[in-house]
């Protein structure tokens, strides 16, 4: 057989392509459930981690259903709409117009404390960065944050997924009085006692700025919801305070 004939060459190429295509597509379809499962568990793991629950991927499933009380989908007017918050792909949402975006919100209850978890998505230096930030029940103080990235520079920008960077967000506030300030990642270090700033990563300025932009953009989208919720929360807090005043009074009279 002459392997250098034109017809043979074409035939060989065609058969090879069909075999390879069949092989790869069946591998992709066969492995997809395993891959999707990994991605789903990792997301649950990250959501839990933002409210301070560290668990390996295998245990995430169980704890997720235990701690995450509700999953909401909001529009940018702060109204609740139909949909599955967990399945929303923020990567495609952030590309839409602001009023067409679906905003997922997760509400967790850990040790009797309600915390609001907001998924984040933004741009780093080389590719997308994402994460979750959790707010205390006053919708102001940050309880925790986790970040991750696709391909930031190893040892520099990639450090945003390390604890030393993420831990700095805990206890910060996204409002100054009634004004929304977000949280800024500050090159050269945040001043001592700054409630709205954290230290940037040396050598990772563009990634750090990306985190700032991401927080500002994503949190801004939720402002209508925050404003709607705040009066209710304030009334609740007032009630709680009055309760304690009453108890104090009680103890005085006794």
């Amino acid at each position: 057989m002459d392997v250098n004939k034109n017809s043979y060459t074409f035939g060989f190429a065609a058969i090879m392509v069909i075999i390879v295509a069949a092989l790869l597509s069946s591998a992709a379809i066969g492995l997809k459930p395993f891959q999707d499962r990994n991605i789903e568990l990792e997301k649950k793991q990250n959501i839990l981690s933002s409210v301070g629950i560290e668990i390996d991927r295998d245990g995430a499933e169980e704890l997720y259903s235990q701690y995450i009380k509700s999953e909401l989908v909001l529009n940018n007017k702060g109204e609740e709409i139909e949909g599955s918050a967990f399945d929303i792909d923020l990567g495609t949402e952030v590309k839409k117009e602001a009023d067409a975006q679906l905003l997922p919100l997760f509400i967790s209850e850990v040790d009797g404390k309600t915390r609001y978890i907001i998924p984040l998505r933004g741009k780093g230096l080389w590719g997308p960065i994402w994460g979750f930030i959790s707010l205390e029940d006053d919708l102001n103080k940050v309880y925790g944050a986790v970040f991750d990235h696709k391909g930031e520079t190893p040892g520099l920008g990639s450090e945003i997924n390390k604890a030393f960077f993420q831990d700095a967000f805990a206890g910060k506030a996204i409002f100054e009085g009634d004004n929304f300030t977000s949280i800024t990642v500050i090159k050269g270090g945040a001043p001592e006692g700054d409630m709205h700033g954290v230290d940037a990563i040396s050598g990772g300025t563009i990634t750090s700025d990306g985190v700032t932009d991401m927080l500002l953009e994503r949190l801004t989208m939720y402002l209508p919801y925050f404003n709607k919720m705040k009066p209710a929360i304030e009334v609740e807090q007032l009630m709680a305070e009055m309760d304690s005043v009453v108890t104090v009074n009680d103890s005085i009279t006794q």
């Binding site: 392997v3 250098n4 043979y8 060459t9 060989f12 190429a13 090879m16 392509v17 390879v20 092989l23 790869l24 591998a27 992709a28 492995l31 395993f34 891959q35 990994n38 990792e42 991927r57 696709k150 391909g151 190893p154 040892g155 520099l156 050598g203």
Partner: protein
Amino acid sequence: MSKDSLFSKKNMKLLSDPLNDNNPITVQVLGICSALAITVQLKPAIVMAISVMVVLSVANVLISLLRNLIPSRIRIIVQLVVIAALVILVDQVLKAFVYDVSKELSVFVGLIITNCIIMGRLEAFALGNTPGKAFLDGLGNSFGYGIILIIVAFFRELLGSGTLFGFPVLESLGVYELGYENNGMMILPPMALITLGVVIWIQRIKNSKLVESK
């Protein structure tokens, strides 16, 4: 053709040659790009070496099996298709079963396709040799590639981050108390090139065969 066993002395040279005298990185200067990119830490370097080993050995055997069937005019395309298919398979399997490692390697698994060592071995060896020999050649060359990766990654992680496999070696040895500080340069690409240069330099001091006569 002589019928010598797969593990004859001649065949064993296929395994040992690429480790030193004919190392794909330090002597043939192939596969430099990945050697520079993923040697910041030891763990990804080792996983990369294993992935290349799987891809190169299997591709070598496949091409060697097909060597009398491949039309010579499209042989490079055939080689590329075989490599690309294997790399995608490896990537998919890593994503499904060792998700953390696949995240760590990110784009670099895909870049195995562009690793010149693999196409170089297919073109230079597998097309003209039996599958057994091609397998040994693939194994030998990926060992040669892997060992350089691991040497470079060892020094870059140790001097750049003070750790090995993420374990803080220098801290537990108390080196920092003597005033030592991690060299941030080591985790940047230029120092990968310089470290590799030093490895080549040392190899040439030890191995006089590699030094060109004046």
